[in-house]
Assembly symmetry: C2
Homo-oligomer: 256 residues x 2
DNA sequence: TAGTGGTCTAGACCACCAA
DNA sequence: TGGTGGTCTAGACCACTAC
């Protein structure tokens, strides 16, 4: 610990900005195990006096590591090395529901409802669901947790013909749809990454600006009718999506 | 412009921190089109005097928007609204190479090589490629650009039996492998999101901490032998991966 | 050369948490 | 109540860009 926050070595002119040097020292200490998950760091003011830097500079180094998910800070309490997070792997090629997916691997699932209502659709929802003029929409918004850890924010929209009573969904949306004979058999997903805004980050228990996996899904019935339009935001540090790929058809047989 | 940086309204006690209020004002102006892509913002010092805030506070607001990809800053030049980026969509279910994928949609592809060498493998590479003790590895690292815009960093590792001469790869790795009769026919990918470090961010031309899509791929021959181990980092703001899902086999027929 | 963003400082007050 | 992180300020110097 003394070595990390030693005032020595900060005067090398070619070593870059001071906050980056400190950031690198702390990151190296975590990577090297000298700072283990759960360990506390000295208070910001103490790090400042120990290193001979100003508190603002120390804060800039720490903030970068908080944003990257390597440290966590609790006001009034202190700064700590982030706990090791167990990465969940989910197969992306199968159309399963969150609830079923977690049950399959023996995890508990809790949902915290943010909204479960009938409302006026956004232009995006009108487009995706093919709604008529004046038609309203069922919207389900919830934070998904597994074993107490928030994993994803899920915002599902369905036409009222598909789901007249949103309040009837307690846990699995797909289970409700299945009862109504309206479970999707095919879906198209689009995946991208983006930085989480303050609100979404708080819901997921990570720092503002942390990387999240954004997944947009449109589910279809066998008839081709759209049943669901879902936008999810997964914690980037807690989720791995696995996909199996096969050779592109147009290239088949031309190999070798 | 005057409205955005007006000193009025910053005294409301319930509106949260000043830097968040300013951040919201600027973000709203961009979303509402009052600030269009390419537009320049006043200098930081000017924004500070206009709003009555300190430069540090203005900077904190601006930095957050830079991290989120909504603004770009150029030292000595100014602060600008980020140009609209064209999102590329790539099918995730087919095993295609970057080069072929871009060619199919009529885009030019350039590679900037970071490394193309035979070297000592990392433990991760030994594991993924199933290398023997003392065996060396061919490593290909490059930044992929399309129409001049950097899109991804690709780091591919192959055993020397698969690719004895890394320098023989000029554009498409898969084309070279195909010539040798070693093109993979199956691959497993793992997808997650993470914040880009300073170095990777610079290579992709985005701000440090921006969200990136991390993809790890292991490619196999028909025999089941591993041919390639590739770790890629895509710009989160420039890429959409599309996947089509079908009903999980175990649920087939139980629908309705 | 003038203007811009990038870094850094010393000091202050507030809100929250734990003993 | 004392310590912690969260916010904010005024002022300074540097490195780079554009002219």
């Amino acid at each position: 610990m003394e070595r990390i926050f030693s005032p020595l070595g900060f005067d090398d002119p070619g070593a870059g900005p001071l906050y980056l040097q400190l950031q690198r020292r702390i990151a190296d200490a975590i990577a090297g195990g000298r700072l283990a998950p759960g360990n506390s760091l000295p208070a910001e003011r103490d790090m400042a006096t120990m290193t001979g830097l100003s508190r603002v500079t120390v804060r800039k180094a720490v903030q970068a590591l908080v944003a990257g998910g390597q440290l966590v800070q609790r006001r009034g309490s202190g700064t700590f090395v982030a706990p090791k997070i167990e990465r969940l792997e989910q197969a992306l090629s199968l159309l399963t529901s969150f609830t079923e997916d977690m049950a399959r691997r023996g995890k508990t699932v809790e949902s915290v409802w943010l909204a479960r209502q009938v409302t006026t659709p956004s232009p995006e929802e009108v487009m995706a669901l093919g709604l008529g003029a004046g038609e309203r929409v069922a919207r389900l918004e919830r934070v998904r947790r597994s074993d107490g850890v928030p994993l994803a924010i899920e915002r599902a929209s369905l036409s009222l013909q598909t789901l007249p009573d949103p309040a009837s969904v307690e846990t699995s949306l797909y289970a409700v749809l299945q009862d109504r004979g309206l479970r999707p058999v095919r879906a198209v997903q689009r995946i991208s990454a983006s930085n989480l805004g303050a609100k979404d980050a708080e819901l997921l228990g990570v720092a503002t600006g942390a990387a999240g996996l954004r997944i947009e899904r449109i589910g279809y019935l066998p008839s081709g009718r759209v049943v669901e339009f879902t936008r999810s935001l997964y914690r980037g540090d807690a989720y791995d999506f696995a996909v199996e790929l096969t050779l592109a058809p147009s290239l088949e047989g031309s190999n070798g």
